[in-house]
Symmetry: C2
Subunit: 281 residues, 2 copies
């Protein structure tokens, strides 16, 4: 068996094409969509990600303002800026980039992002509405997990899914989206006893912990689908995932590559949310 | 083996005693705590539950206003009343009783309950904050699950817990509270394939579906702890749980009885939340 690579490129391109059409319509009607990305870090992989969003936005006809507050910005300054952008009628989507200075938690500050502009589902109200089955923008990464599985026709209803990682931005919202699709969902984390035993019962394993190569052949049953959400920087300036692709190659049925799997879909969904937010106004 | 009964009475009494003390202090300082329960149903088991809350509130020094809008109330009228109570300075806790008329969903209407008065965690903002690890009142039933396990010294960290039921009021918030306690949590539901296989891997099974006797000896490993959240009315006017106690007796290690397990703890926690909300003002 060789694990089939589940590339995100084709799906991302389709989402971006549809989004670009809608962005063009908005622009013609005098409402050009705009995304504001608030940055308060000099973290390199964060900067790389923000640049990639800005580039993709530009190609899609969405203005992307990068609001760089610098790595020494305090929580009050960040919250004030989020409030300001939330009140700015020309801005339709607001994204607060992590990491944040002084160990501030995203979910603490993101309450200051207006619900309607919370295009990356960081405001706890978005998470709560998502969990309650009410309309909300899901975090783009969590939504990308389900979108890429759908794209490849991987059934979720009645299947067992192990989500490894319980972050507020990925693991928890992904669990809710998967539950909503009628999967039986287990959330594993750093305190899970005998992780491999737990994940080996799953048809689909979602790796979202930020530990390079954590998920190996020992962690999955033969033929399982692995969705790798990890984006860990490598010494040579590249990215590597949470899954050990070499180890999984002979055991998993399918695997999303890093880079080139979940990542491009995430960016495309973020843009789609921005256009949806601009349309809803 | 005989499953040890995990009664809620002692824990509920302790919570209520502490809550009564705090209620008395509030009353002396001119801020007598008040809970408003909005009812829009003539469902009998609902009426029974509301009466039991009112009685317990009275015994604890909390005023309980039952606001009965009748089974024909429409969503607008309910929302308007929830807004009114949220704006009323003499009311500290607001509870919207289910079932709701016309198939309205609790989470839709409960957004109208002010976050600070949302003593049963029904507003999606409360659920989102709970999921994000931020302060919020959890739904009392979900919190009671963890409280009763704690009371009996049942370890959760690193243990496997199966939550059967994915409701917004119990299953999902309970899953978050259990995750927060470092359990590895699986959420099962009506679409779960081979439920017994899934639940049999768990150290603790939380039954929260509303199907009498669903969880039997076949569903648990020997010695497992079963927390029964079910409150299904019986023909003779009593209550029965989601667990089949007779079947489990020889296999489970411990079981919360229905009635007398989770129920009394739920009511006590609701009163504690009301006093906390009154104190926070």
């Amino acid at each position: 068996m060789t694990a089939t690579p589940l590339y995100g490129k084709e799906l991302a391109a389709a989402i971006r094409a549809e989004t670009a059409e809608r962005a063009a319509i908005l622009a013609t009607s005098g409402r050009p969509p705009k995304l504001a990305v608030v940055v308060a870090t000099d973290d390199e992989s964060s900067a790389w990600y923000v640049r990639s969003i800005a580039k993709a936005a530009g190609q899609t006809g969405i203005t992307c303002d990068i609001v760089d507050l610098g790595p020494d910005a305090d929580a009050e300054a960040i919250v004030a800026r989020l409030r300001g952008l939330s009140a700015d009628d020309t801005v339709h989507g607001v994204l607060l980039q992590t990491p944040l200075p002084g160990g501030a938690a995203l979910q603490d500050l993101a309450s200051a992002i207006a619900f309607g502009k919370d295009v990356d589902g960081a405001n706890p109200l978005s998470l709560g509405r998502l969990a309650a089955g009410l309309p909300a923008h899901p975090p783009a990464t969590a939504e990308a997990v389900v979108a890429i599985l759908d794209h490849y026709g991987i059934e979720l209803a009645g299947r067992r899914v192990a989500v490894v990682g319980r972050s507020t931005v990925v693991g928890k919202p992904a669990a809710h989206l998967l539950l909503d699709r009628n999967a039986t969902v287990t959330v594993c984390h750093s305190r899970t006893t005998d992780l491999a035993t737990v994940t080996s019962t799953a048809d689909v394993v979602v790796a979202a912990v930020g530990r390079p190569g954590l998920i190996t052949a020992d962690h999955v049953r033969p033929g399982a689908v692995v969705v790798d959400v990890g984006t860990n920087p490598t010494p040579d300036g590249g990215l590597t995932g949470d899954a050990d692709a070499a180890s999984l190659a002979g055991r998993a049925g399918a695997l999303t590559p890093v880079p080139g799997g979940v990542g491009p879909v995430t960016t495309a969904l973020l843009l789609r949310h921005t256009v949806a937010a601009a349309t809803a106004r």
